[in-house]
């Protein structure tokens, strides 16, 4: 036996070291990223496209159940709270300014709250909440590199994968670089804190070196990629394969098909739900 992290590479079939395989653990997280993406997509689609209360309410309940199963209910509810300004504006605009509504519930000055407006507002809020929950559960349970690895296995092109992967990895790097530039500018007497106006004025000397610095590196990065055969023809070798199963594939197809039928039925009028 050896302690080398590559010791298992000589086994047949090849077993990747754990730090590369990064197999997800825990309830819901172990599902294949495509399965979780399908669930999120279906929840959002049905919540927005199926008329009435049933679609958004069911999808919100399903989303919250998934969050609870994954042990993420508290975190998901906190995300919902963050959307409260949007929820408030939806409520106010729809309740008081719903076009054509006549059944007035109460008046505040020149504005009248209507029952139709309130109904539309509550349904819209349910739709937004279901969408937010679906996105939150998906993003909390699916690391970006898991999703990209799975999409690559399913045929996503190397350029698309690189663009998304590089963009995701660039964010923390740009944040670090911004902090370094801000420190350098402060050491030269630039005020980047304090009042809002001072902070706004501090953006230009902060942003310019960041943008120009990033642009100046692009050519060298392009050449470095070419030097590593980035433009080679054919498919890239798939390194990480995340677990999938026939049962999950079946669930994905059934769920997707069910969502399409529900949406089509609702829009065509033959699926009448409260």
């Amino acid at each position: 036996m050896t302690d080398s992290p590559l010791a298992d590479l000589h086994e047949e079939p090849v077993r990747l070291p754990d730090f590369v395989a990064r197999l997800p653990g825990g309830r819901y997280r172990t599902l294949n990223p495509a399965t979780k993406a399908t669930f999120a997509l279906v929840e959002a689609l049905v919540a927005f496209a199926v008329r009435g209360w049933t679609g958004p309410t069911t999808m919100l309940v399903v989303g919250l159940a998934a969050a609870a199963w994954a042990g993420l209910l508290g975190r998901t509810l906190r995300v919902l709270v963050i959307t409260s300004p949007l929820v408030l504006s939806i409520m106010l605009v729809n309740t008081f300014l719903y076009p054509g509504a006549t059944d007035v519930l109460w008046r505040i000055g020149p504005l009248a709250a209507t029952a139709e407006g309130l109904t539309a507002a509550l349904q819209a809020v349910l739709r937004v909440a279901a969408f937010v929950v679906s996105v939150a559960v998906f993003s909390f349970t699916t690391p970006a590199d898991d999703l990209l690895a799975d999409l690559e296995r399913r045929g996503l092109g190397r350029r698309a994968e690189f663009v998304v992967g590089a963009a995701l990895q660039t964010i923390p790097r740009m944040r670090e670089r911004a902090a370094e530039i801000a420190d350098a500018q402060r050491s030269r007497g630039l005020d980047t804190e304090g009042s809002r106006w001072r902070r706004v004025r501090g953006i230009v000397p902060l942003a310019a070196p960041m943008v120009f610095g990033a642009l100046s590196e692009v050519e060298e990065q392009t050449m470095a990629l070419e030097a590593r055969a980035f433009s080679a023809p054919g498919r890239r070798t798939v390194l990480r394969t995340l677990p999938d199963s026939a049962a999950q594939r079946a669930v994905r197809w059934l769920t997707g098909l069910g969502a399409v039928v529900a949406v089509a039925g609702s829009l065509a009028g033959w699926l009448r739900l409260p």
Partner: protein, 272 residues
Amino acid sequence: MTLRLVAATYRYAGAAAPTLHDVELRLEPGRVLGVVGPNEAGKSTLCLVASGLAPATIGGHLAGSVTLDGLETASLRPHELAQRCGVLFQNPATQLSGTTRTVLEELAFGPRNLGLPLPEVLARVEWAAAVLGLEALLDRDPQRLSGGQAQLVALASVLALRPGHLVLDEPTSQLDPQGTRLVGEALGRLAAETGTAVLIVEHKTGLLARLADEVLVLDAGAVVRSGSAAEVLADVALEAHGVEPPPAVGLVRALEAAGLAVDPALLEEAAG
């Protein structure tokens, strides 16, 4: 397995005059060729031309001949060039793909681009990591390495494509003495043990004195001196071309200036 430039003249796109003029060089397997010269001498351009990136990737006009293993670089596609000639630039941060979570995945980036079978990809990763002594870093985040470590990872990433030639543009310019030593030792081992031909542009002549078999002096885009590393680096005319001699050569000269007799063999040894 030879890199050869014959009367190579290169002009950047939009430039009025060429940056390189009639450059001749020949690099055999297992040999290390150092390139020195003042700023704006055309050293980085020589790296781009020798590796085939110019004009293939950045455009411009090349006259004369640049061949890798007897094939004109102009006739090779970028991924074919990458398998014959690895190239490394100054800044470690721009050498890494920026898309990987571990050093192992970073090293696998190039071989995966070639679509090699997974066992072959991993064998190459294992080999490249072993050559540069990077096994202990394989689980680390490439973005969280020191400058020297990051440069070694970038070098290993290029090596994983198994090129017969390496072109390195000031690979230690952003490294501290320890990082410089790490890279220098790794390159020496690589050339000696794998027969890789190395062309290295360096301002640190002390490193070249230890590493290079031959040195070429470039000034204003032309080769003004070439020969064995010991001979060229001990040449008093080197400073006229804006190149500092290695510290050991400077020390010997200082001793001589102070009236202390120095054995000429010592000068040779110090430079070599």
